[in-house]
Subunit: 431 residues, 2 copies
């Protein structure tokens, strides 16, 4: 019995020894007296060299095997400068564990480019491409780094319910569920729950989990199911959690550069670690910049995509837009005491892409109830939330950061669907 | 400006110095010339001593402050053997940041015990109890340990969709969603997706995320929304993933014992680390044991709760029930080649509680399609899944482990609702 090796682990120490490999048939080249098979596994590709004179049965099997079939190989390692990676394996066992059908619905070797929709339809094949695998290896590291960083900062991981009875922020962008005989909804965000946990004395929490938004529009930046990275922290304000956020972004980039060199190469991406602190622009200043660059905008409006593109020309890498009009931010955003039409809010931008949004929250129950009413919402439907403010709610602040968008911006992906294994949008529910 | 300290961090080094504290008013004792306030934060409790002669205004404020109000305190640390923890703080600043209403809907100091339903209704107060906080501090460690262990074993974290168009295992235990103009469902388990990812060449994946089951019954072991820890691994069988599972359980216990001593004390729990390998009993042997202990059961039936209780009397700690009848396991479980009425399946039990369930999976598309039909399901509705088996699906195995149940069993909680911050059951949709 041999222990299984990944193709990338084969090196000088293995020369002259036998190794056990598992993987997929990436390519077959038949030269008559010898058949070359490129074997691909999760970590790389190695050449199997099958000369007829070594084992005619194996050579015959290698010649016949269809691309993308799954095989088990035991063979001897030799140095071979002409082979990819510098080594080849001469099989003594070559077993086809599962033969692939032909023709393949998608070309894994990427000789034929395919449309994103075709790729997503056959995602199980699309994901076999090293370039695409790399995206999800880096995603793994990104999520690990986020958790390690937040844990080291004293944040406690929590899981809040995804089935809820009330909209988080009002509005109609909700998916209704039949919950036994009642109606319920898929949660848009853990916002209300992470705030309640400040009332519960957790002081610092984070959650990484799905959020659901029934938005009708179908853009390259929006999904209807996404993964959100959320934090909430007591006894601090928006300034405090902005510092946490920029250090987190810096840490993720640093870790990805240090630990994912191979996958960055597969993905064809070179990263620059963004410097902190990030630049800042106030909403007022942003409006002026956008106007000066020729786009019409009135104070109090949210920024359109063209406006954000103009703004992005002014900044390298990441920057914060701070101090938004209270009216266009959610009811829980804290207004400035001396200028209540402005709120203690921020968006984190990567170029023209909004990565995160946060604020100091209102912790005073009377003000909060007033703001809910002012937004045209009914305080009664927020009773479970409001009650947590009446018995000792600390001042607190937090943010939500889109995990898929963060990955999209790190890897400079053109469509957020590339950052998600099985994306869900207006029209796509499968696979 | 002082940097904020947790109460538990106050020690000999602070004596004679000033510290900044934030927290909740746990108790107030008014002795006339001096008022004692117990200040509670996330990490513990400290005594604030407010003598009238030091600062009459602060003593007055401390006397009047309502329990569970949020305060900010700056004061001098003194040694005081009679105070809890051995230190007291003499406040020079005492600011009430948010005054709590009275009476409190629940007693945080736990002098009055409350029913679970009352507690869950006022969960934000219930969670302030150190005993309850401890549960979620240990949960954080448990999830970190699971991820660290799986990452160190080469598993890649993935996120699969929670909104799906097909039931995972057939059956009717699904929550329907209105997905724009179509019907969709909340996913019961990531099973089909993690298998497709084996077809995608990920080889080892894990996911920790919500699962949704529209089960009508309402027991102390079931929730309608739960967190599931799922793995899937290629080029291995049920034996391989059982070894991963038992090492994971062992690692979680070891980490909790090493890193959560304080919270285990708060929770009043002493842990024994379960020894591995876990004992095993075949389904056939289990049937015999149950019969011998006087419960009626026929071969091919699933085990009832009373039957599992009888079985648990035979085993200490954790054990596996292996080799289940193929008929009572899902369609994707691999039957033994030489005895197809038995399957390569296992359940992991902690006493009479089922923690995890797993199997070698069927990787051969024809057999899989046959099994789907045999279960009375329509292979056409599994097309996105079946297609992944036709173009090179490796042999694979995996399991699903209930995170809430794992925590329940570690901390010996009587009701799974205790292991979840905001549980969702047949009747509970709030908070």
């Amino acid at each position: 019995m041999y222990e299984r090796k990944y193709t990338s682990d084969i090196g000088a120490d293995d020369v002259g020894k036998k190794v056990l490999l598992y993987g997929w048939v990436h390519e077959v080249r038949d030269l008559g007296g010898v058949v070359f098979v490129l074997l691909r596994d999760r970590e790389g590709i190695i050449q199997l060299t099958c000369p007829k004179k070594r084992n005619p049965e194996i050579t015959k099997r290698a010649r016949k095997v269809r691309r993308e079939s799954v095989v088990r190989v035991v063979g001897e390692v030799k140095e071979e400068p002409k082979a990819p990676g510098g080594y080849e394996v001469l099989p003594d066992e070559f077993e086809v564990l599962n033969e692939a059908d032909a023709p393949l619905p998608l070309d894994v070797a990427e000789k034929v480019p395919a449309e994103l929709d075709t790729r997503l339809d056959a995602r199980f094949l699309d994901l076999r491409k090293p370039r695409i695998q790399a995206i999800f290896r880096i995603r793994h590291q990104m999520l690990q780094s986020v958790r390690d960083f937040l844990t080291s900062e004293g944040f406690i991981e929590v899981n809040t319910p995804k089935i809820v009875s009330t909209a988080t922020e009002g509005g109609t962008e909700l998916f209704p569920i039949s919950y036994f005989e009642r109606e319920a909804f898929l949660n848009q965000s853990p916002q209300l729950y992470k705030q309640v946990l400040m009332g519960a004395g957790f002081e610092k929490v984070f959650e990484i989990g799905p959020i659901f938004r029934a938005e009708e529009h179908n853009t390259v930046r929006h999904l209807n199911e996404a993964i959100s990275i959320d934090i909430e922290q007591s006894f601090t304000d928006h300034e405090g959690v902005m510092k946490v956020l920029e250090r987190l972004i810096n840490r993720v980039y640093t870790d990805v550069v240090e630990k994912c060199e191979k996958y960055l190469n597969w993905a064809g991406v070179k990263l620059e670690i963004p410097e902190i602190p990030f630049q800042r622009v106030t909403y007022d200043e942003a409006v002026e910049i956008i106007k000066k660059r020729g786009e019409e905008i009135s104070w109090g409006e949210d920024f359109s995509t063209p406006a954000l593109k103009l703004l992005a020309e002014e900044f390298d890498s990441h920057y914060y837009i701070v101090d938004w009009p209270t009216e266009i931010k959610p009811f829980y955003a804290m207004p400035y005491e001396n200028e209540p039409e402005i709120s203690k809010t921020f968006d984190l931008m990567a170029g023209s892409l909004e990565l995160a949004s946060g604020a100091q929250r209102i912790h005073l129950p009377d003000l909060l109830e007033k703001m809910i009413s002012q937004k045209g919402l009914n305080p009664e439907s927020f009773e479970f939330y409001l009650s947590a403010f009446r018995y000792g709610m600390p001042p607190h602040a937090g943010w939500g950061l889109g995990a898929d968008r963060l990955l999209m911006s790190i890897l400079k992906l053109k469509n957020i669907r590339e950052a998600v294994i099985f994306p869900r949008d207006r029209t796509r529910l499968t696979p």
